[in-house]
Amino acid sequence: MNYQNESKELIEAFKEEVKKKVPIWLKTQVTELKDFLDELEDHIWDKATEYANGRDPEITHVREAIISMGSPRKITKEFKTRGNPKFFITEELWPSYYKSLIFGAVIVLFINMLTMGFDLAKPEANIGATIGQAFEGTFAGFAYVFVGMTLMFVQLSYHGYLPEDFRKMAEAREKKELLKKEARRVGKTVRPERTKKPKREKSVIPSSGSYLFEGIMAFIGGGVLVFYPFIDINRVYIEYWMPALPGWLKLVGGVMLISGVIRFSQALIGKNRRLQQFFLALGIIPMCLSLALWLQVHFNPDLVTNVLSSRFPATNIPQIILAIVVVLSILQIFGMIDEIRKIVKLEIKGFEKKESKYEKLMNNH
């Protein structure tokens, strides 16, 4: 490989590293991101040429020029300083935050009121209790929307998102759709530009972002199961055929909520090894509870087995349920083992910084 190619490879690796670290809002603006990376490259070549006293730069000059650029983390940090902080959420995002809260609240209200309507329509309805239940569900829903949205907007503010980024994303999507439609019209297929992605090594534990996502999902799922807003629609059926099911669903919801709290905590902790290990260990408890609950489906025929057996007498329902329970239980056990593996790996490796291609190249030269 000649010097020129090596230099190009080094610059490409640097650009790739910068690209990885830019905030999500910039990643979505493909043209702007490319322009920014090209500008960095122009600068590196200028600087390297200066180091080479006006001659064609060699790899060492390029390396020096890259060092003078500063670390990719520092460069991209400048993008994250967008927006004026106001109680953890930037001032610019507050209007969108309000709108999202209102939108979420309206949906919660709609679901609860619809359920109340169905319930009140029943002849045996206890009006006071039904209304009380509906309000309880509504306020619990509000609390969920508030917590979920707040966490999401805090995260967006941290990444320097601004409202215009959402607009640009929507515009880009529209443009893409139009292009697709146009291509379909003229009978051609449009393939998205394929870029060769470098193979990424897996980190010891998932990122804060994915923990946050898991937490939000667990909160939503758990909340729905605990407060189960649709139960009144089919209460008579459930109470007659599957009397144990509502209680079981509430327990599943409760376990999901506990997992959600743990995931949120893990997202907030970040790279604190001891605390992460503590919460990974704590995460095994709801997994054990889940296992017990899956096994309950097999051991307690009142849950679903009896009703399904009476509905489908020709099928061997207990056998099918046993097979499902076994598979789910095995998955649950694997999940627990995986948590233990992460604890051990964290102990051995810590939050080991993986050497990126850029760092490898920089260290080699």
């Binding site: 090209d38 122009d42 600068h43 200028d46 600087k47 520092k74 460069i75 991209t76 940090k77 400048e78």
Partner: protein, 173 residues
């Protein structure tokens, strides 16, 4: 944005973990605004052809006798922010066989730059006695708006501050 090029003896007070981070965060807070101001000041000098990032840094280095040394990559996010905020416009042009992005001040950018420079100058003048430095503003050349500290050249026939609209007629010398 500015690179700290200082090195100290290991036993120096500001080398201790506690003071080092304190001093570094103090310096970076202080320099954040100054970096924007300095970049705009250089760009202002090239109203016609504009200036590209590398050229800007070179000029800044020369003007400040290498006191302000920028971590070069961090300049570009700042330029882009200024462009998004409407203070700068950019254009890609070929120069010496290489494509470069040239930045120029917009009309609003020019006005805001004058205001920011005026504010910073008056601030320096005000704190001068506290830090025992003597700051003399070029008041024969410029009027500093008493309301918003906008820096207005004496030579121009301006009756009102173009930032806050204050009547400055009587202030010219």
């Amino acid at each position: 944005m500015f690179r700290n090029i200082k090195t100290y003896r290991p036993e120096a007070l500001i080398e201790t973990a506690r003071f080092r981070s304190y001093v570094e965060s103090f310096e970076s807070e202080l320099l954040r605004g100054i970096s924007t101001l300095s970049a705009l000041a250089i760009i202002q000098r090239h109203p016609e052809e504009g200036v590209y990032g590398y050229q800007l840094l070179k000029e800044l280095e020369q003007e400040t006798q290498k006191t302000l040394v920028i971590e070069e990559g961090t300049l570009y996010p700042i330029l882009r922010k200024l462009e998004r905020d409407g203070l700068l416009v950019s254009e890609r042009k070929e120069s010496s066989g290489r494509p470069r992005k040239y930045y120029k001040l917009t009309e609003d950018g020019q006005k805001l730059h004058n205001h920011m420079i005026g504010f910073f100058s008056k601030l320096l003048e005000a704190i001068g006695p506290l830090i025992e430095v003597d700051i003399k503003l070029p008041e024969k050349k410029y009027v500093y708006c008493p309301n918003c500290t906008n820096k207005i050249p004496q030579s121009t026939d301006v009756r009102f501050c173009n930032i806050c609209g204050l009547n400055i007629e009587g202030l010219s010398k």
